[in-house]
Amino acid sequence: MRTWLAVLLIALTSPSFAQNGGKILHITFQAAETGFDPVRVHDYYSGHVLEAVYDTLLTYDYLARPAKLVPNAAEMPEVSADGKTYTFRIKKGIAFTDDPAFKGKKRELTAQDFAYSIRRFFDPKNRSPYAFLYTGKIVGLDALGEQAKKSGKFDYDAPVAGLQTPDRYTLVIRLNESDRDLPYVLAFPVTSAVAREVIEAYGDESPSHPVGTGPFYLKRYVRSSKIELARNPGYRGKVWNFDPGDNPRFREIAERMKGKRLPAIDGVDISIMEETQSRWLAFQQGQTDWEYQLWDISPNFMTDDGKLKPEFVRRGIQLDRTVDPEIVYLYFNMQDKVGDVPNPFAGFGKEKIALRRAVMMAYNIDDHIRIIRKGQAVHAQYPIPPGVVGHDPKYVSSIPYDPAAANALLDRYGYRKGKDGFRRQPNGDALVLRYYSNPTERDRMYDELMKRGMDAIGIRMEILKDRFPELLKMEKQCRTMVKHAAWIADWPDGDNFMQLLYGPNTFESNNACYKSPEYDKRYKKSRTLPPGPERDQLYHEMTRIMETDSVWLLVDSRVRNTLQQPNVIGFTKHPVLHAEWMYIDLDPKTQY
C-alpha cells in the first residue's frame, strides 16, 4: 500500500506538467474551435490555427502600424488601371506538408490551388460563412454558385472568367467593379490555399485534416480540448527583418529577434480552457506562456493606471498592452415597426432624434468601462477603432454623458412624465424602450447600466432576454429595438467599419437597419477612393450624419493585456494577425 502511494505521489508531483521536446509555446483558447477547413470555419479561434497552418497570398508586416500588407505566398499584385484586374505571381518552390492524399509525392503550391480555394466559397455544400468576402465581386463566380444551387453539384472544372491561371504560378482575378478591399480579403486566413486532392480525400472530415504550406502543421488534435502544432520541416522559412520605426518597445523586440530564421519555435501547444480561473491559475503555475483572456480579473494583476503590479514585474512577467481593433456600440432600430410592435424610437423627426439622443446621453460610458471592463477599455469616439486605417485619434463624439441635458431635451420635445413617473410620447401614448440582451453575467451588467440611465431620464425600460442564436436571428431580421453590439476588424481598413451603417447592408451587418441617403451617398463614394485625406473627410461627414441622426452610441474598445512569461521573446499583439507564434521566440535559459 505504501509503495503504491509513493508511486502515486511521485506521479502527481513530477515537475512541469507540460514538458515537451524543443521550444514549445503553451497557450490557451477561451472557446472550442470548430475545425480547420478555411471555407467552413466560423469561429474566432479556428482562424488562429488557419493562419499558422496555411498560406494566404498576402499577409501583414508584423510591426507596421496601422497594419500594412506585405507579400506572402505571392508577391504584391499588379493592379490594372481601372482597378478591376489583379495579377498575382505565386512564389515558386512552396510545398504542402506531406499527406497520404499526395501519394508520397512532393506537392508544390500553384495558382490553381488559390483558384480552387476561392471557388470553394461558392459550393453550397460548404455553406461557407465567409462567402460574403467574394459575393458579387468576381466575374462569373456567382453564376457558377447559382448553377450549383439548382443542380446540387458544384462544377469545379467549369471555367470562370474572373479566375484565370495562365500559367502554373500566375493567378488573375477579374472583378465586376473596382474593389480596394480585395488585397485585404486575400490576406484573411479563410482565403488560404488548400490542395484539391486533400479536400477530396477527406470529404466532410476536411475540418480535422488541415494540410497547408504554412509554418506549422497539425501534429495532434483532440477536438475541443487540445491542438498541438509542430514546426513544418519543409517550410520555406522567413528571416525576422521588420522595421521597428521609432517605437521603443518594437526596437527592443527587433534587437532580440532580428536575423532569426522563422518560425523560431518548434511548436505550439494549445489547450481549450473556457474558465477564467483555470486560465489564470495555469498561467501563474507556468503551464502556459502567455494569456490575454483575463478581462474579468484584470484588477488581480493590473494597477489602476494600467501597469503591471510590482509582484508580477519582480517575477519577470511581461505585459503587452494594446487596444483591440473593435468597437462596441449601442444601436437603435430605425424601422417603424419592430416585429409587429410600433417602434417609438424610429424616425427622423426632431422629436424622435431628441428621444434617441436623450437615451444616449443617459448611458454612462465611464461607468461601463469602470464596472464592466474593470478599467480595461477606452471610450470609443469614432466608428473606426485604433490600429485601423482611417482611425482619427483627435475626433471627439458630439454625444456627451449628461442626464440633466437629456431630461431637458425630453421635456422640450413633449415627452412628459405621467403619474407613474415615466415619460409618455408627445401624443400621450406609452413610451417603452425594449432592450435586448443575452442571459449572461456580463449582459446583466449592461442591463443594470441601461436601467440606471433610463431611470435617470424617466423612460420605462423592458429587458428582453434570449439565447445568443435567437438574438442573432432577431438582430439580422431587424427585430431588436435597442441593443448593444460589437464589431471586430476582419481587415484593418475603415471600410470594414463604415459599412455597418450602409443602407443596403440592412438584414446583413447593418444592425440598426439605418437607411440614410446622405450617408449612403458618401459611403459609395468612399469605396472608390484610396485611403487618404479625401476618404477620411468623407468618413468624418458620415460619422457626423450618424451622430446627428442619433443612431449609434459608440461605447468602447477593449484593451488587450497580454501577460507573458519571462521566457517569451518578441511578442506584440498585431491588430489583425492572430498567430503571432510565427514571429516570436522562447528563451530556454529563462527560469520562472
Binding site: L8, A11, L12, T13, F17, A18, A32, T34, G35, D37, R40, H42, P124, K125, R127, S128, P129, Y130, A131, F132, T135, K149, D204, E205, S206, P207, S208, R220, V222, R223, S224, S225, K226, S271, I272, M273, E274, E275, Q277, S278, L281, A282, Q284, Q285, Q287, R467, F468, P469, E470, L472, K473, K476, D490, N505, F507, E508, S509
Partner: protein, 312 residues
C-alpha cells in the same frame, strides 16, 4: 423474469417516443435557428436559405421528425452541424475521458458514503451522528462551483499537488495525474448527500426484526452490520448509484470545463451553445435509453440480491 423483462422493454418504446417528441419540439420552437449561427458575421438571406437547406431544417416538421426516428433506428445521428465531426465519433472519443473520471468517482464516493453512513447509523442519536449530519447539511448546501474553485486554487495552484487542468495521452497518465483532482472534487460534492441518504437505508435495516433476532442469537455486532444489514441496505444503494450514472455523464460539465477534460458533458454544453441539434438529439436519446436500461437492470438486480422481491 423473462416476461417481466420483455414487458419492460416494450414500455421503452412509448417512453422514448415521448422523449423524441419533447426534444424535437423544444429544439424547433425554443432552440434558436442554427443557420444564423453558422452564417458568419455578415449573413445574407441567400446564405441563410442555403444553410437551412443543407441542414435540412427547411423541410416540413413531419419530414424532420421522421429523419429523427430513422436516426434512432439506425443509430446514425449524422454529423455535427458546427464541426462536421460524426456524432458517433464524438461519443467514441468523449466517452473515455468522462468514464475515466466518473467510474472512480462513483466507486470512491459510494464506498466512502456507505462506510460513513454505516458508522453514523450504528451510533445513531449520538453526538457523532448529529455532528456528522450537521456537517453533511452544510456541505450539501455549498455549490459545486465553490468546491471546484477552492480545490483548484488550493490543491492545484497553492500546493501544486495536481495540474490546474489538462488531459494527457495515455489512460494511466489521465487517471493518475489529470483526473485525480476532478475525482476529489466529485467525491467531496457527492459524499455529504450520499452519507445522509445511505444512513436512512441503514437505519431502515437496523430497525428490522431480523437484526433483533440476530442479536438475540448472540451474533456479533460486526457480523450483523457487515453481513446482514449491509447486504440489505445495499439494494437501494446500488439502485441509487446506477441511476446516477446516465445523468452524471452529461451533467458533469462543470468539472469537465474547469479541469479541461474532453468529456461528454463539455460536448453537450458546446452543442447547446451552438444549437448543434444532431449532438443534442443523440445525447438526449442515449441518456434516456441508458436511464431506462439502468432502471431495468436495477430492478433485476433487486431480484438477484433479494429473492423476496417480486417482479410484476
Amino acid at each position: 423474469m423473462l416476461a417481466y423483462t420483455l414487458r419492460r422493454l416494450w414500455q421503452f418504446i412509448p417512453t422514448l417516443g415521448g422523449v423524441v417528441l419533447l426534444v424535437f419540439f423544444v429544439f424547433n420552437f425554443v432552440g434558436g435557428d442554427p443557420a444564423y449561427l453558422l452564417a458568419g458575421k455578415i449573413p445574407n438571406p441567400e446564405t441563410i436559405a442555403n444553410i437551412r437547406k443543407q441542414l435540412g431544417v427547411d423541410e416540413p416538421y413531419a419530414v424532420q421528425l421522421w429523419i429523427f426516428v430513422k436516426q434512432i433506428l439506425t443509430g446514425d445521428f449524422g454529423a455535427s452541424w458546427s464541426t462536421n465531426e460524426r456524432v458517433s465519433q464524438i461519443f467514441a472519443t468523449r466517452l473515455g475521458p468522462s468514464l475515466t473520471v466518473l467510474v472512480p468517482l462513483l466507486m470512491i464516493s459510494t464506498l466512502l458514503g456507505m462506510a460513513g453512513a454505516m458508522l453514523v447509523a450504528y451510533v445513531r442519536g449520538s453526538l457523532t451522528d448529529r455532528a456528522v449530519m450537521v456537517a453533511c447539511t452544510v456541505a450539501q448546501s455549498v455549490s459545486i462551483l465553490v468546491y471546484i474553485l477552492v480545490f483548484q486554487y488550493l490543491f492545484a495552484y497553492q500546493l501544486g499537488w495536481f495540474p490546474v487542468q489538462g488531459w494527457g495521452v495515455t489512460f494511466m497518465d489521465n487517471l493518475l495525474r489529470y483526473a485525480v483532482l476532478a475525482i476529489v472534487v466529485g467525491v467531496a460534492v457527492s459524499l455529504a448527500p450520499d452519507v445522509r441518504l445511505y444512513r436512512t437505508f441503514f437505519l431502515d435495516e437496523i430497525n428490522q426484526d431480523y437484526v433483533r433476532t440476530a442479536r438475540a442469537k448472540g451474533m456479533s455486532e460486526t457480523r450483523i452490520m457487515w453481513v446482514h444489514v449491509l447486504r440489505n441496505a445495499a439494494i437501494p444503494i446500488v439502485t441509487n448509484v446506477l441511476l446516477q450514472l446516465p445523468g452524471l455523464l452529461a451533467g458533469a460539465f462543470l468539472i469537465e470545463r474547469f479541469f479541461g477534460i474532453p468529456g461528454i458533458g463539455r460536448e453537450v454544453i458546446l452543442a447547446v451553445e451552438r444549437s448543434d441539434f444532431p449532438i443534442i438529439k443523440a445525447v438526449t436519446v442515449y441518456v434516456a435509453l441508458a436511464t431506462m436500461v439502468v432502471n431495468l437492470a436495477a430492478d433485476l438486480l433487486y431480484k438477484a440480491i433479494d429473492p423476496r422481491v417480486q417482479l410484476k
